[in-house]
């Protein structure tokens, strides 16, 4: 299981989408592709923008389907961050319909 500290990469206010993209492409996708699980650790992150979370996980859901959520854990999220993550996961699944990966 791999663990990524969002604070170390994006700071206490996670808003830089370029950083989110780098985490997605360099950490999340390769880890999931290896069949491993990944923990996104939000310890010390006070807030995250919807744009940041979208850039972090939306493409993972789109490409791997919502089953990817079984292998991603969001750790130490405060209430605000949890809600932003839930918004993104909510509208992505709503938009994907059944929740399977796009072909």
């Amino acid at each position: 299981m791999k663990q990524i500290s969002i604070f170390e990469k994006a700071g206490a206010f996670a808003e830089n989408k370029d950083v989110a993209r780098d985490i997605r492409t360099r950490e999340i996708f390769p880890t999931l592709a290896n069949g491993e699980e990944i923990v996104l650790d939000f310890e010390q992150v006070d807030a995250a923008t919807q744009s940041f979370i979208h850039a972090l996980i939306s493409d993972v859901l789109r490409r791997l389907g919502n089953d990817a959520l079984d292998r991603i854990a969001f750790k130490s999220c405060n209430d605000t961050v949890k809600k932003v993550i839930n918004i993104v996961i909510g509208y992505m699944q709503e938009g994907m319909g059944a929740g399977g990966p796009e072909g």
Binding site: E15, N16, S51, H54, D59, K83, Y91, G95
Partner: protein, 320 residues
């Protein structure tokens, strides 16, 4: 181009100022001002500064300001931005707790640095600080990613003690919302494009539900929602289109709408053409709702909007 800085221009009464803007002769900029008193929203300063960045050489004509409050414009960095002498001598006070001077943001890293270093200067409590950081981040990132202008975003903010509020203005001189939205959606007018841009899940980067891997089309909806919940003004002006979210009457039930035209608002379709986009927001601090409770309402509205759009594309059985 000609701009006259009036006696008063805040989001509630910004319309006459915008109507007085003369965009003809874009190679020159002539600035005049009320000679008695000037009290304006940061959006006015951001607009003028953004225009100034597009003017080459010494083609900016700025009259000598007579108003007693001219020092405010100097302190916000307007004359420095325009590279014109202000003729004003003033003592620079520590800016902490009162304002963020005019700042140009062109890259993602500049924005992150700005949020890290400048927002704390407003000395806000954690909740409003989060809200302001959120607004600045989403608005400036929109400019960096979509406006296609080398000048980036110009923004400034001011704390108003009397109303205990932060007022923010951000301007760019890029391609404007109509051009970007029309890459994926049909928006015949600037106002149509603004309407779509405010709708959750609509982005100019794709027609696909859920957006692209980098864009969801939600930033402006979030900001409008923050203003709506807090009973504050929010305006957006691009091309000839203008939308103003009006304050919700006190005591009225909080209800977020996916369609901005269902909110209490005013709109214009024939203002002088602004090449680019301008956004202004007021955030009243003593009524700033808990950010997390705001997110509940935003999430529900967002998901319902996506559901409706998906449903609208369902094919119906043909019964013959």
């Amino acid at each position: 181009m000609k701009v006259h800085i009036p006696n008063s221009a805040f989001l509630g009464n910004i319309d006459p100022f915008l109507r007085s803007f003369d965009p003809s002769s874009p190679e020159t900029l002539e600035i005049t001002a009320n000679d008695k008193w000037i009290a304006v929203h940061p959006i006015v300063l951001s607009m003028i500064a953004a225009l100034g960045l597009t003017i080459k050489g010494d083609n900016i004509l700025c009259e000598k300001f007579e108003a007693k409050s001219k020092h405010y414009l100097a302190r916000m960095g307007l004359f420095e931005f325009l590279k014109v002498p202000s003729g004003i001598n003033f003592v620079e006070h520590e800016s902490a707790g009162r304002f963020i001077p005019l700042t140009q943001i062109r890259t993602s890293d500049e924005l992150t640095r700005f949020i890290t270093e400048m927002i704390p200067l407003l000395h806000l409590e954690p909740e409003p600080s989060k809200t302001i950081g959120y607004i600045v981040s989403e608005l400036a990132r929109n400019v960096i990613e979509h406006a296609e202008t080398e000048h980036g975003a110009v923004l400034c903010a001011q704390y108003y003690k009397k109303s205990n509020s932060i007022r923010i203005g951000i301007a760019d001189t890029g391609v404007g919302i109509k051009e970007t939205i029309n890459r994926s959606h049909a928006a015949p007018t600037d106002l149509d494009a603004i309407r779509l841009a405010l709708w959750p899940g609509i982005t100019g980067t794709t027609r696909r539900e859920g957006g692209t891997e980098q864009n969801a089309g939600a930033g402006l909806f979030f900001i409008k929602s923050i203003a709506s919940v807090n009973r504050d003004f929010f305006v957006i002006y691009s091309g000839r289109g203008f939308y103003k979210l009006l304050k919700r009457p006190a005591g009225s039930r909080i209800r977020l709408h996916a369609d901005p035209f269902e909110d209490r608002h005013s709109k214009e379709t024939d203002l002088p053409a602004w090449r680019g986009t301008i956004v202004g927001a007021d955030i009243t601090l003593d009524q700033t709702a808990e950010f997390s409770s705001l997110l509940d309402a935003v999430g529900n509205t967002y998901q319902a909007a996506v559901r409706d759009r998906v449903k609208a594309r369902f094919k119906k059985a043909r019964f013959i």
